[in-house]
Amino acid sequence: MPGAFTGPDAPDLDALRTCVHCGICVPQCPTYRVLGQEMDTPRGRVYLMRAAAEGRAALTEGFARHLDLCLGCRACETACPSGVRFGELLEGTRAELRRAGPSRRHRLLEALVLAVFPEPARLGAALGLLRAYRRSGLQRAVRASRVLRLLPGLAAMDALLGDVPPAAPLPELIPARGRGRGRVGLLTGCVQRHLYPGVNRDTARLLALAGWDVVVPRAQGCCGALELHAGRTAAFRDRARRLAAVFPEDLDFVVTNAAGCGAAMKEYGEWAPETAWLAARTRDVTQVLAEAELPLGPLPAAVAYHDACHLAHGQRVRQEPRALLARIPGLRLVELADSDLCCGSAGVYNIMEPEVAGRLLEWKVRRIVESGARIVAAGNPGCLLQIARGCRERGVDVEIVHPVELLARAVDRAR
């Protein structure tokens, strides 16, 4: 049987062969922890990919199922001693499934979700409708109706979006305060911009306070992360090129406060070499603020830090956010068990695979309760939405925030 992978973005056989089948990644994989079977482990998934590449497996419905179930959290990359680049292998395989795989049961839902989320204007419009519908009292009627039960994905989306504040655009330039260090761009992100506009405001404020001129191009679009994870590689390349065109090339850094965006942008060079400069300059906000001198007032609280997958595993950023939070006087960082185990958000995974996502969320909330924290900080809007929903639904009284929000509060207290 000839190999099943023939498309231009298919994973490379040599890359697949770096897996020595040791299994060290297995216990770190959230889907293994939920499902307890080899097909849903990183080792099993790489084995399936390699079998497809070598012509020992076909791109069947079953094959696609185990790849759909992968969160793309990349915890396996952190664990792997052999340097297997699982994220890339997954993206390439999903591109192959899109090209030559079976028709997907939930393709319609995925198409709908991908038509809304990465388009800031459409997401804004959709959220506007949602607000109107909440006000009208229709929400209860719809929630109670069979419609949501028939479409578990929509039910998941509805449950996520608690109370949505209206978005407020940032000015295109926020000048540095005091001694200038240079100029950075700010990616405002599709979800962040509309659901957590406060996080973008705080990010810009802190960066300016740290001495950076902050450029916020109005015309910026989506980073393309969701498309990359779905294997829509052509659309992703397009996004990369368009984003590289709106940010000036003389910026010191392009800053993101959404882990998913940052991780995808840091990979631009692999997919569209002409955008490599942008990849090289992309930084998470906590990386840029790590050395900044910020006037921080007291914020007495027990805070747990949740490692967003695409920050800890995708960008290997773990210490900076913790160190920043630990600098706030009075703030006590409490240990959160399994802090880098995915919360189930994973881009649009919680909409596509509500059952597995629900189990992971259940565990996450339990660990949070055990930690005794009153505030949970996480560097990705998907995690914020997901964990907030989990706590809300279980009546757990914990505040869920982005680390920059806590820093901004501490700055306010310093005055």
Partner: protein, 481 residues
């Protein structure tokens, strides 16, 4: 013979809707353990959640004459968790609970699927640990450790798995649920626990394990010494042991391995050295202090380039992480390797190391070394690219020569990984016919129909009742050890 529909349906009834895997993808990923060279897909994979289900599966398979193969985390290196004759593979992954923690009596009873390190994690806050620490401990299951009688770096001082198993609950191949041993070590009658540990699932399926827990030592110190070459390091090992010191662990790594590990885990092993010794001492603080100083002096005497002590627990943990991930990190150097598990008397270490270098040169293969130097348990990794058949042949030839050299020096074919399919054919090199026949009959007591993990551990028997007629001392063609 594939399973009949009726059998599959009955299995599904026993296990419930999520407990049975029979998809093509499922069977494919369960076809091998870490030693991916040996492949054999089961007809179905059962994922039971308790002992009652396990017993029902075994009884059904016995009635129908279907082979049963146990599997824990699939990290074995011997062609163990694979199904050469098809049948039902029983994965213990969903039986991973700690059934009882009895710290007063210093023991715990756990299900076989529990990950080794998770047991230590559950008790370390209270100052306890589970001693057997195979390098795979962050993923391998306690059931698998029991099946292969796994060792590990710290077995130099603490002993291997069998020394830490107090009792077992076992569903025998005959379908009975029996309890062997128990919390109290001193028991009347036969020591059946000792017999069953290391039986690699050929007696039946373990459904619970009672293990001994130990108290964490007062002090621990990890000394890292680098040497210009393996020989000098080997001399240092012999000298340390001769001085009457029993380190908790005494590990050696060569330059190839050091390179792979430094890249893989970010551990900072000395670069440019020909060999590194990782020496861990534990016990009362004063004793540890004195022994560490003595070990350092011995290393300097034997020509060490550098001797240093891990500064803190974080550095120590990173050094061990690097050491334990060694076999995985080698994937950075070559896509495939043959991994040996031979043992030589400790005094022969320098000699076997010289021989090993010569063998590598003769067959033009890279040999990476990481091993338990303290007890002479070698793990040479012979690197090759499986896409090049000629290279594979060279690797196999080097492997065979290496094995012969070990046996010629009075060693054995397997230290701690187990026998599985890989090494079964080599047992006649070590045991007389009468010994093997006795083991074969013993297996029959637990598993009269010989359906439990067929083809593993013992070389295939020509016909029931006949004795072994192994060709000795010649090794079978292309023996893999």
């Amino acid at each position: 013979m594939p399973l009949t529909r009726a059998v599959v349906e009955e299995l599904a009834r026993i296990l419930g809707p999520d407990g049975l895997i029979h998809s093509a993808e499922g069977r494919l990923v369960y076809e091998c353990d870490m030693h991916a060279f040996y492949k054999g897909a089961p007809d179905v994979v059962a994922l039971p959640s308790d002992a009652a289900q396990v017993q029902a599966i075994v009884r059904l398979c016995r009635r129908e004459g279907v082979p049963v193969v146990p599997r824990g985390s699939g990290t074995g290196l011997i062609g163990g968790a694979m199904a050469p004759a098809g049948g039902v593979m029983v994965g213990t992954n969903r039986m991973d609970r700690i059934l009882e923690l009895d710290l007063v009596n210093r023991c715990a009873t756990v299900e076989p699927g529990l990950i080794n390190l998770w047991l230590t994690r559950a008790v370390q806050d209270r100052g306890w640990f589970f001693a057997p620490d195979p390098s795979s401990q962050m993923v391998s299951s306690i059931g698998g450790n029991v099946g292969t009688n796994a060792g590990g770096p710290h077995c130099l001082k603490y002993g291997i798995t069998v020394n830490h198993v107090l009792g077992l609950e076992l569903v025998t191949g005959a379908g009975e649920l029996v309890r062997l041993g128990g919390k109290v070590a001193e028991r009347p009658g036969y020591d059946l626990t000792g017999v069953a540990v290391g039986s690699e699932g050929t007696f039946g399926l373990v459904t619970a394990v009672t293990v001994r827990l130990l108290h964490v030592a007062e002090a621990v110190k990890t000394v890292l010494a680098s040497f210009p070459d393996i020989e000098a390091a080997s001399e240092a090992v012999s000298a340390i042991i001769a001085a009457g010191i029993i380190p908790a662990a005494l590990e050696m790594l060569d330059d190839i391995m050091i390179r792979a590990i430094n890249e893989g885990s970010g551990a900072d092993y000395p670069k440019g050295a020909g060999a590194v010794l990782l020496i861990e001492l534990d016990g009362p603080a004063a004793e540890v202090e004195a022994q560490a100083a003595r070990c350092a002096a011995i290393c300097w005497e034997r020509g060490a380039l550098e001797v240093r002590v891990a500064r803190d627990e974080a550095e120590r943990a990173l050094l061990w992480k690097g050491r334990k991930e060694a076999a995985g990190a080698v994937g950075r150097l070559a896509p495939t390797y043959l991994l040996q598990d031979a043992v030589v008397p400790r005094s022969k270490l320098p000699a076997i190391m010289r021989e090993l270098v010569a063998i590598g040169a003769r067959h033009r293969v890279q040999i990476a070394n990481v091993f338990h130097a303290g007890d002479g348990n070698l793990h040479p990794l012979i690197l090759y690219d499986d896409r090049n058949p000629e290279e594979l042949e060279r690797a196999k030839a080097a492997n065979e020569e290496l094995l012969r050299a070990c046996i010629a020096m009075g060693g054995t074919v397997s230290g701690e990984h187990g026998i599985g399919l890989d090494k079964a054919k080599n047992l006649p090199l070590e045991y007389a016919d009468a010994d093997l026949n006795f083991m074969y009959r013993l297996r029959g007591v637990f598993d009269p129909q010989r359906l439990m993990n067929p083809q593993k551990l013992l070389p295939s028997h020509p016909a029931c009742g006949e004795g072994f007629r192994p060709a000795r001392p010649r090794l079978p063609d292309g023996a893999w050890i």
